[in-house]
């Protein structure tokens, strides 16, 4: 009996050890670093890095950008992904091919996505404005990456471009897992297409929706790579996200303490959101 218990534990132990060493320990280490104000020998212990968070307008606006970025991208990705999933749920000739083609953007390395869209969006020499100019359109006001609001819209659009396929795939799988019977029952009751959608499809799709939203939210809140390549946070700070701001603080200004304090703020906010989603999911499973 003893032997029976210990082997599975031994098998699991290395993984737990790795996670403790490389996920949990770094967090503890980060707490220590965040409580050190100033660099090198002059460092003092204290909560200075955390109090500084509250007076830092740039951090606040980076936080605001991160959350509005996440909210906007999530909304569009969800609506477009759901639409595509509904379109391809019913048998359609060439469905397999379409599914394969639609998923291309999501597989690309984010750095490559940044490069691709820099090529497309450059206000003077990009493919979009080039094509429009060729067609006689005045592109003077279409400065995709140069005006703050357009640049923000552009980085959101790039995210939507890359990740709508993900929503689509997960939701499509969810749709296909729904049994036929509830639909047949709805038909017998004479429900309209809209009624069937809101009363049958959506409720049954809810677990898939929640999972898709949870995973996307977590990824959106950490966004770094594409923006780093595409705009580096500019112009006018309009596309600076928390991850970029932390990166800059740590590795360009070498203020690891403050970077760690900001990381904690981000971690806490991310956790609150993910716990919220997981609660919803569990309630869903219990129901």
């Amino acid at each position: 009996m003893r032997k029976y218990l210990s082997l599975p534990f031994l098998l699991a132990a290395p993984a737990l050890a790795v996670l403790l060493a490389l996920s949990v320990y770094p967090l503890v280490y980060a707490i220590k670093v965040s409580l050190q104000v100033g660099a090198g020998d002059a460092a003092r212990w204290g909560f200075g890095n955390f109090t500084r968070l509250f007076g830092d307008d740039l951090f606040r606006s980076a936080l605001l950008h991160t959350f509005s970025y996440a909210a906007l991208a999530l909304t569009f990705e969800f609506l477009l992904g759901l639409g595509l999933a509904l379109l391809l749920d019913r048998p359609l000739k060439g469905r397999g091919v379409f599914r394969a083609l639609l998923l291309v953007p999501m597989m690309l390395p984010p750095v490559v996505v940044g490069v691709v869209w820099r090529l497309m969006l450059n206000p003077s020499f990009g493919a979009i404005n080039g094509t429009l100019k060729g067609a006689g359109v005045d592109t003077d006001s279409l400065t995709w990456t140069a005006s703050p609001s357009l640049a923000f819209a552009s980085v959101v659009a790039v995210d939507v471009w890359q990740w709508t396929p993900f929503m689509f795939l997960v939701l499509l799988a969810g749709l296909q897992a729904i049994p036929r019977e509830p639909y047949e029952a709805a038909m017998i009751d004479g429900a309209s297409a809209w009624q069937t959608f809101t009363h049958v499809t959506l409720p049954l799709l809810k677990p898939a929706i929640l999972i898709a939203l949870l995973l996307r939210t977590m990824d959106l809140l950490r966004v770094f790579d594409q923006i780093f390549i595409l705009t580096e946070g500019g112009p006018a700070f309009a596309t600076e996200t928390v991850s970029l701001y932390i990166y800059r603080t740590a590795f360009r200004f070498f203020d690891f303490g403050y970077a760690a304090a900001m990381s904690f703020a981000l971690l806490v906010l991310t956790n609150i959101i993910s716990v919220g989603y997981i609660r919803l999911l569990q309630r869903q499973e219990a129901a």
Binding site: T143, S147, T231, A236, F237, F251, F253
Partner: protein, 424 residues
């Protein structure tokens, strides 16, 4: 399929273990350079040196922002990953104050020399000392960049304009040319173009205007003073110039600026000399022979270019400091600097600037030399990187219309004051 996959996995894992073993080692030099024309010249020099001396040199090319980050990481933790680093001069105070760099004085003494010869341009040499101009020597200047004013000679002559000596004249010329001219393909021709991308770029293109208006980043007591009346006037002029610049200039860096100038769709700009060779090359430039290069315009004060030299230093953590110094002395010798100049890099030695062969090839050398000798450095503070970043954000906000010049400057001043205060 599966057995092959597994054996491939095993093979590659072993290979990786082998690769992991090779880090930086004794006996060969690792050199961190800026990816671009300056770094390329040094990279070629390294190849020559390898051939003549037998010392193995590995060159690491990194893009501008990343180069600073990597160097700071290496220096700060003394990893000794690099034996020689190329650094932009505004980074120097940060590295020197923290005592990250090898003092070159004893290196010269060891070789029975008093120090570097006096052929080096004084303004370039001053950058390599800490404190500025007077202190110990921690680097040698390799690329003698200082800003030049580029303008289309042909268009100026056509419209009876004279070489601008003040920023108001630049503005007037930009207006005239923008209204009356079209580019070759019938598109618009913009009077002025500048780098206004948030960060290093916008600050670099703004400072000469700022200084010409008599503004200063810091007052004599060390408090930031960018929100002075002069500073706001300078920013207002920059925005005026922006109205004659191509749309979207607020996101431009050197890439877009050069492209506009080369394609003949912009008439004036501040630029670095490294680009001159591109303008005279008909394969790349539609304006070959039409571009003039001169010193910067003034306004309330005479114009002063910003100096932007690339220096080479030896990190304290290097395990090959002596071999590194030998390379450094070799690379900055008159003969090698001439070769570097032929590869497109502005020199930092007077003898190279006045070399007849080079003068024939680079007609802008006299202007460059004048600009370099009268140039002025960015503030010598170890906090420059953070200050430049913050200043850049607010300049970018003004250029993209989010803030008025007054708001941008007073907010920038407050944020810079915070940085100074925090590090007191």
């Amino acid at each position: 399929m599966r057995p092959t996959l597994i054996s491939a996995l095993v093979l590659i894992t072993t290979l990786s273990a082998l690769l992991a073993g090779c880090g930086s080692e004794r006996g060969h030099l690792t050199l961190a350079v800026n990816s671009g024309v300056e770094g390329d010249a040094l990279k070629q020099a390294a190849v020559d040196y390898e051939a003549s001396s037998g010392v193995r040199i590995e060159v690491v090319e990194l893009p501008y922002d990343n180069l600073f980050e990597k160097e700071l990481i290496d220096l700060n933790s003394g990893t000794g990953a690099y034996d020689l680093i190329m650094l932009d001069d505004p980074w120097f105070p940060r590295f020197a104050v923290s005592e990250f760099l090898t003092d070159l004085g004893p290196m010269y003494e060891k070789r029975g020399q008093g120090g570097p010869d006096d052929d080096f341009i004084a303004t370039s040499m001053a950058l390599c000392r800490h404190p500025y101009e007077t202190g110990r020597l921690y680097a040698l200047p390799y690329v003698g960049n200082s800003q030049l004013f580029f303008y289309r000679k042909d268009l100026f002559e056509k419209h009876g304009l004279k070489e601008p000596s003040s920023w108001q004249e630049v503005l007037a010329a930009a207006k005239t040319i923008g209204e009356r001219e079209r580019s070759d393909d019938g598109g618009r021709l913009y009077g002025y173009v500048m780098r206004a991308e948030q960060g290093n770029a916008v600050v670099a293109d703004f400072l000469p205007i700022f200084w010409a208006h008599g503004a200063e980043m810091f007052d004599p007591s060390g408090k930031p003073s960018v929100d002075s009346e002069e500073g706001v006037a300078a920013l207002r002029l920059m925005l005026e110039l922006g109205r004659h610049a191509p749309p979207g200039y607020a996101s431009f860096n050197a890439d877009e600026v050069s492209a506009h100038l080369l394609q003949g769709s912009a008439a004036m700009s501040i630029n670095w000399p490294a680009w001159i060779s591109a303008f005279t090359d008909p394969a790349r430039s539609r304006v070959a022979g039409k571009m003039a290069f001169t010193t910067l315009p003034g306004e309330r004060k005479p114009g002063q270019a910003e100096i932007g030299n690339w220096l080479i230093a030896i990190p304290k953590g290097s395990r090959n400091a002596d071999a590194a110094f030998d390379f450094l002395a070799w690379a900055t010798s008159p003969e090698q600097m001439k070769r570097s100049a032929l590869r497109g890099n502005p020199p930092t030695r007077r003898s190279v600037f006045t070399d007849p062969e080079l003068l024939a090839k680079f007609p802008a050398y006299p202007a460059q030399l004048r600009s370099l000798e009268t140039s002025r450095p960015r503030p010598r503070t170890p906090l420059w990187n953070e200050i430049e970043n913050t200043f850049g954000i607010f300049l970018s906000k003004a250029n993209s219309g989010v803030l008025t010049p007054e708001e941008a400057m007073s907010q920038a001043n407050a944020e810079i004051a915070k940085i100074v205060e925090r590090n007191r």
